[in-house]
């Protein structure tokens, strides 16, 4: 029943498999294990999705599958099987014969996957000449053909251009064509669309799936985005703390997860389709591979003493396995259910019904920047008017460059609008925060996106939190400040023990909680949130969103929440605005706006959101 690795009997040429792979990194501080007993098999014509949060070891696995090792990397056990050969022990000479010929790799960073100093032509003919033995003329013909297949306009001209002359999505499509032009048997994709806008992402993903299936390639698709993988892949493997915790047919795993981590992860993914509450996973991901304990045990609601041992992967069906000792005892998955320890705070609909006055009015605001370098003017926000109702959550959604953050920053007084006015309770606000009276500055607080930069690295948590008290709360005596700060720490669910730590000792999620606490200590009426969860893992994002939704309801806060993720929008916002190129395209109650969009751009955005339930539609969807 319990086997060490899921072995699939049929072995064909072109199959690439990791068998019981354990990998570690050696550094000055010793050996850190990052992969433990990982077995996956890629099969021709099928795409295996590998999902995991940051630090789960998924990218290490992707590169290891190619026999590529970064410096300090050591294989502790297992092998990489390709045609009966062990790639992990192959010589660099042998590897160079298969790399770019039979095994292809599409890297993560869209901006740097192509060499900026070389033309597209040079990228193509190098590999085609070496691996396919083509002469230059034939190689050029083949390149043009592939560029056409990835829908690059005017392929002949494109060949003579440099990478920076294409958009991010085009660059990644060119990189895809480059990888496929040598007709490989295996394709490894490492977060190939992360960093692209959602519409572009959908386009690239459609191409990846169509071309890979068409060529009968065995593909591994690595991503942190579970919903995306469940939509585009045939099979799904879930990784946690260096181990595969569950594996199976994509649709089955997503619809009926068996491992508590998979179930919790799915419960944490915001979706645009339903009203279900998000549930965060308490705690933070384990930084290293577990020894003699289940890797997920410290965050799992179903933990028992039986979990304190090395957990084997249990085969459930031909392509279904999970790594949990309590598989038979766990209740079946119900996405609407509360997780075992009830941590979730669902959005209460009571707040929505309240008839609210307008607290903040943005009237015909326009913001102009000059482009760095050329100095050309660029309209970031174009004649935007918004009415923010008191005590509600307003969401502003849009792609990068839509002007959503700029709009928020102009409300916060960080960017001076070129035209228009912003009024708060009937009083017009000065363009820059420094020129606003203290009472107004206090009433409007902002929380930022990047958890690495939101707190001053040289100030302790207490120093950061004390500052708004000094500036805005003369009512709190100096000696009472520490108590007030500690009370706020508890409100944002952090231990007051962390007060004398520096931000580097905190996780990203903890830092965002401190940043929220810092804003709330001013006792604001309006809380501006600028993509506050977009840099966090999905399980942490869900807990921050829970916190925000709870605080908003308890304190009757007005929240303006900027996001690029329509699922997040749905989870936090009562009312929503869709922004494109600095212009409002559509606005209205969030649920209605997402269910029955009126503007073509909103429809396009919604269609680009990956949805496992409508996989065929997503992959076949019109361009």
């Amino acid at each position: 029943m319990t086997t060490q690795a899921t072995r699939v009997p049929a072995q064909r040429d072109g199959d690439l498999a990791a068998e019981g792979l354990s990998v570690g990194y050696r550094s000055r501080d010793g050996l850190t294990q990052v992969l433990a007993d990982v077995s996956v098999r890629l099969r021709s014509g099928r795409i295996l999705g590998l999902a995991g949060e940051s630090g789960s070891g998924k990218s290490t696995l992707a590169l290891s599958m190619l026999g590529y090792r970064v410096s300090g990397q050591e294989t502790l056990a297992g092998r990489i099987d390709f045609d009966g050969r062990d790639l992990d022990r192959a010589s660099i000479k042998d590897l160079r014969k298969v790399w770019g010929a039979r095994l292809a790799y599409l890297p993560q960073d869209t901006a740097t996957s192509l060499n900026p100093a070389l033309t597209i032509r040079r990228h193509f003919i190098e590999g085609l000449r070496r691996h396919q033995g083509l002469d230059t003329e034939e190689a050029v013909r083949r390149s043009v053909e592939w560029l056409g297949r990835v829908e690059i306009p005017e392929p002949e001209t494109a060949l003579h251009k440099y990478p920076h002359q294409f958009s991010g999505g085009q660059q990644q499509r060119i990189a895809l064509a480059l990888a496929l032009s040598v007709e490989p048997e295996v394709l490894i994709l490492d977060e190939p669309t992360t960093g692209l806008d959602v519409v572009t992402q959908a386009h690239v993903n459609r191409l990846i799936v169509a071309l890979a299936r068409d060529a009968g390639i065995a593909a591994l698709y690595v991503s942190h985005n579970l919903a995306l993988l469940a939509t585009v892949c045939d099979e799904l493997a879930i990784m946690y703390a260096g181990q595969i915790v569950e594996q199976g047919v994509a649709a089955e795993v997503y619809a009926a997860p068996r491992h508590p981590y998979t179930a919790a992860l799915i419960g944490a993914v915001p979706t645009i389709a339903s009203d279900r509450a998000l549930h965060g996973i308490p705690g933070i991901p384990r930084p290293s591979v577990p020894v003699h304990v289940c890797g997920f045990a410290d965050r799992c609601g179903f933990r028992t003493e039986a979990c304190d041992t090395d957990i084997p992967l249990v085969t459930l069906a031909e392509v279904r396995s999970a790594r949990c000792v309590r598989l038979d005892e766990l209740p079946p998955f119900d996405p609407a259910a509360e997780p075992a320890p009830a941590t979730a705070v669902a959005r209460s609909s009571a707040t929505v019904d309240k008839d609210a006055d307008t607290i903040l009015t943005v009237h015909r605001v326009g913001v102009v920047f000059s482009r760095p370098g050329s100095g050309e003017p660029f309209v970031a926000v174009d004649d935007v008017s918004v009415r923010v109702p008191a005590g509600r959550a307003l969401g502003i959604a849009g792609e990068s460059g839509s002007g959503k953050s700029t709009l928020l920053r102009s409300i916060a007084g960080l960017v001076r609008p070129a035209t228009g006015t912003i009024t708060y309770r009937g009083k017009e606000l000065a363009g820059l925060a420094g020129d606003r009276p203290v009472a107004l500055r206090r009433s409007i607080q902002i929380v930022f996106q990047n958890p690495d930069a939101t707190l001053n690295p040289r100030h302790t948590v207490y120093q950061s939190l004390e500052r708004p008290l000094k500036l805005f709360r003369p009512d709190i005596a100096r000696r009472d400040r520490r108590d007030a700060v500690a009370a706020m720490m508890r409100q944002v669910r952090l231990s007051p023990d962390l007060l004398d730590r520096f931000p580097r000792h905190l996780s990203g999620g903890q830092r965002q909680r401190v940043a929220i606490g810092r804003a709330l200590l001013a006792e604001p009426e309006v809380l501006l949130c600028d993509e506050v969860t977009s840099a966090l893992d999905v399980s942490v994002q869900a807990s921050i969103l829970e916190l925000l939704v709870g605080l908003q309801a308890d304190r009757e806060l007005t929240v303006v929440f900027v996001t690029h993720d329509l699922g997040v929008l749905r989870a936090v916002a009562d009312e929503a605005i869709i922004l494109q190129n600095g212009v409002i395209r559509e606005s209205g109650p969030t649920a209605r706006l997402l269910r029955t969009p009126q503007h073509p751009y909103t429809m396009e955005l919604i269609a680009a959101v990956p949805s496992p339930e409508r996989s065929a539609e997503f992959l076949g969807g019109g361009s």
């Binding site: 007084g413 420094g434 930069a453 001053n456 690295p457």
Partner: protein, 296 residues
């Protein structure tokens, strides 16, 4: 000009404060070795005058004697004991560059912080001045000043400080520019903090490590520069026993008694190496990349 084409400093390049303790700094081979070497030289310079057999300008014997039991390093063209001169001549080799760098640092830090944070017109003017200043090679500028005002320690210290200030300003301005758009600074602006608070409490602590690397690097350059100027006869003037001056004066004895030239020359080299090793270790310790980016 040049600086603008490739100026791509990001926050990741700014030296970051480390949780590692200073013991970690000494554990870097360059750091431990550099600190040890510097302490040794400081010891020599401080107690040197007390253990020197003769006073530095006393004519104690025949001129141009080779090394002997009585004169370990021989005597120079005036019959002065070279060892005694070496033991007396270290202080100005260290102090003049230290003075020049301190002077330049104070001005450059203020200007760099203001120009980097405020941007706009202030920054345009500062950048313009820096670019003009950097278009004149350091040696040339100092030599013009010396030609105009005459040589000597005070003129050279001032000239070197003035010549180095634009280079330091450029580094601090870039570091400030990389930090200023970070979100904790935006948060401070949104709270309506004062300019002083933002510059000195939010930004300065974060560019502190960069400042430290800059001081160490500049100090290395200043030691070499001022010693070279003394060697050229433009800095400290004879009859001082400054090591640079000694090299210039004893150069004539190169063929007869090389040690008399070699010892002060090597001591200058060792001093610069010690400081340079420390600068390199600091760069590693803090992960500083600004200096690499700005090519200084």
């Amino acid at each position: 000009m040049t600086a603008d084409v490739l100026n791509t400093v990001t926050a990741a390049d700014v030296a970051a404060p480390r949780q590692r303790r200073w013991r970690g700094f000494l554990a870097i081979p360059q750091g431990g070795f550099g600190v040890a070497l510097l302490l040794l030289l400081l010891l020599l310079v401080v107690i040197g005058p007390f253990i020197a057999p003769d006073s530095p300008n006393e004519i104690s014997d025949q001129p141009i004697l080779g090394p002997s039991a009585q004169h370990w390093l021989g005597t120079d063209a005036y019959g002065r004991d070279i060892l005694s001169r070496v033991l007396h001549g270290g202080a100005s080799v260290i102090l003049l560059p230290l003075l020049a760098v301190s002077l330049a640092m104070v001005v450059a830090t203020l200007v760099g912080l203001l120009s980097g944070y405020l941007g706009g017109k202030v920054d345009s003017v500062v950048t313009w001045v820096i670019n003009i200043a950097l278009a004149i090679p350091s040696y040339l500028a100092v030599l013009v000043v010396v030609a105009a005002f005459g040589g000597g320690g005070a003129v050279v210290v001032t000239a070197v400080a003035v010549v180095y200030a634009p280079y330091i300003t450029r580094v601090i301005r870039s570091a400030t520019q990389a930090i200023a758009p970070r979100e904790f600074v935006l948060a401070a602006r949104a709270r309506g903090e004062s300019l002083g608070w933002i510059l000195f409490r939010e930004i300065t602590p974060n560019i502190g490590p960069t400042l430290l690397v800059e001081i160490a690097l500049r100090f290395t350059y200043a030691i070499m520069f001022i010693a070279s100027l003394s060697f050229l006869g433009l800095g400290v003037q004879p009859p001082s026993s400054n090591w640079g001056v000694m090299v210039a004066q004893n150069r004539a004895l190169l063929l007869v008694s090389p040690v008399g030239v070699l010892v002060p020359a090597l001591l200058i080299g060792v001093l610069a190496i010690a400081v340079n090793l420390i600068a390199d270790a600091l760069t590693q310790f803090f992960g500083d990349r600004i200096h690499e980016r700005l090519m200084v």
